[in-house]
Symmetry: C2
Subunit: 299 residues, 2 copies
């Protein structure tokens, strides 16, 4: 059975590989590494790429932290005091062009000395303009990853993403979703190793999927209207991350490393009072697709 | 004793007066009114001014809503089910120039049919660059308002603002604070009318204070560095409002009118990874003042 050191090593190499692939696809800027340590135990290496050809601001963060389980988690999980170990890779990419989607990925592992072992993660896409063939490509790719492991995974994790990446106060989805899963622990049918193999497959799927979408869309023409809309949609991204995202909330509540937690925020976001796109405009059409329960694979 | 209709009327006239005074001081743009109704009872008139000479985006909102007390409030206040009535005026002004501060004001009244009657409110200032003489002017003006009513008000409400307008996850104040008070209800020493007179005085103080700061600072020169810093500070404003502000949180939780709740967000905000201003720069000096407990009147 894999141990936490092996899982950690694998996440570090995933961060390396993804950074390489994103740099190659971007063709211009390089990631800068910002290593950090946590007083109570562990640390991380946050990598940021800014002002690339395709990527305006992208973060690929690895961390492995450990120590006493924070009281907030103990209470949330109704646990007695214990030590924890948490490691993972988190990614958010904000592209220059409004025609290229924002993407987010996370893969994580959590264990406690009381025997709890969990994996969590997912990939979701936030296009500024929803393109049905890209949406189909994205969900099909995730479905293939899931189908290689367990037949129920795609539907289950796709619905989970629909529910999770939902901006309640706007009554709209953040984007077209993807897959999301949390607290996957060993069962009679799936060992910890089996779950880890699935998580590895999710992690490896990220770069080919996103570099394809970068290449396909980064040369599309756009003007002021599209740029403006991108900034409005980024405002919604900020609203989701600061108001609703559980990872962000947990990080802020437990006084995690603030810059690494908030690296997900866009380089720029705008709020226009009550902006409503003209009926039947491409922006309006995109809003019609920001809903739960769409079968993108067949869209 | 004033009743809720009289209090509501006064808040409406305050909104009218403040909009007039801000338009005159701006000298260019006019407020546009967006009236709205609430299905469960009441409504409001949100007024927004954009792209003025001095004001880039400013909102002056009046609302008066009533109905069954939302469950969230009942639980928070440990109350039994009852009807409520809430009315008030909220203001946030984001200026064009980084040399002019952001300002926020709120005055509000809340009552329930179980007899509870409360006033709340305050004014606080968020300069992009802290100028000690402006800070002194601002706090002195608020102190004079407070001192006309009760000797302990200024210290008490100034400390309350220090604690409230604090960005915990950044370990910095949002700005230079001001005064903040909540749940002021009648006591043996202060009748409801007495409290209302104080709240009226706070409301009337807003326009002279802010139009003075507009006039004094809006012609100061600035360049790209100052504009960039303004956008970073606006990012912090977004973080406070979406993560910490209780009014915003309450509005989002109870599905209030989203555009009126989020009118406080700036027209544009930026997030640069781990931006740290050079030592002894004006930006760095401003950060040194973003702390609780500074005696601005004597600064």
């Amino acid at each position: 059975m894999y141990n936490k050191e092996e899982i950690t090593q694998w996440f570090m190499s995933l961060q390396d590989d993804i950074c390489d692939e994103l740099e190659t696809a971007d063709g211009s800027a390089k990631f800068l590494e910002d290593p950090w340590e946590r007083e109570e135990g562990g640390g991380g290496r946050t990598r940021i790429l800014t002002q690339g050809n395709v990527i305006e601001k992208g973060g690929v963060a690895f961390s492995a932290v450990y120590g006493k389980t924070p009281e907030k988690i103990q209470r949330a999980l109704q646990l007695s005091p214990s030590d924890f170990y948490a490691t993972g890779v988190s990614i958010v990419i904000h592209p220059q062009s409004p025609m290229v989607p924002i993407i987010h990925m996370n893969v994580r592992y959590f264990e406690m000395d009381n025997g709890i072992k969990w994996f969590g993660g997912g990939i979701d896409l936030t296009p500024h303009y929803i393109n049905l063939s890209d949406a189909q490509y994205f969900h099909q790719a995730l479905k293939e990853v899931c189908d290689r492991h367990r037949p129920e995974y795609y539907d289950r994790f796709k619905n989970w993403a629909d529910d999770y990446f939902y901006i309640k106060h706007r009554d709209e989805s953040r984007g077209i979703g993807g897959i999301f899963f949390d607290r996957l622990s060993p069962t009679e049918e799936t060992s910890l190793d089996t779950i880890f193999h699935f998580v590895q497959d999710v992690g490896r799927a990220f770069a080919p999927i996103y570099t394809h979408l970068m290449q396909k869309n980064s040369n599309l023409a756009y003007g002021e209207q599209e740029k403006n809309w991108q900034l409005v949609r980024r405002g919604r991204y900020v609203e989701f991350n600061l108001v609703l995202d559980k990872g962000t909330k947990f990080g802020l509540d437990t006084q995690g490393r603030i810059e690494s937690i908030l690296m997900s925020l866009p380089p720029q976001a705008n709020w226009q009072y009550n902006y409503i796109p003209p009926i039947d405009s491409p922006e309006y059409q995109t809003l019609q697709y920001l809903k739960k329960g769409i079968n993108w694979v067949k869209a």
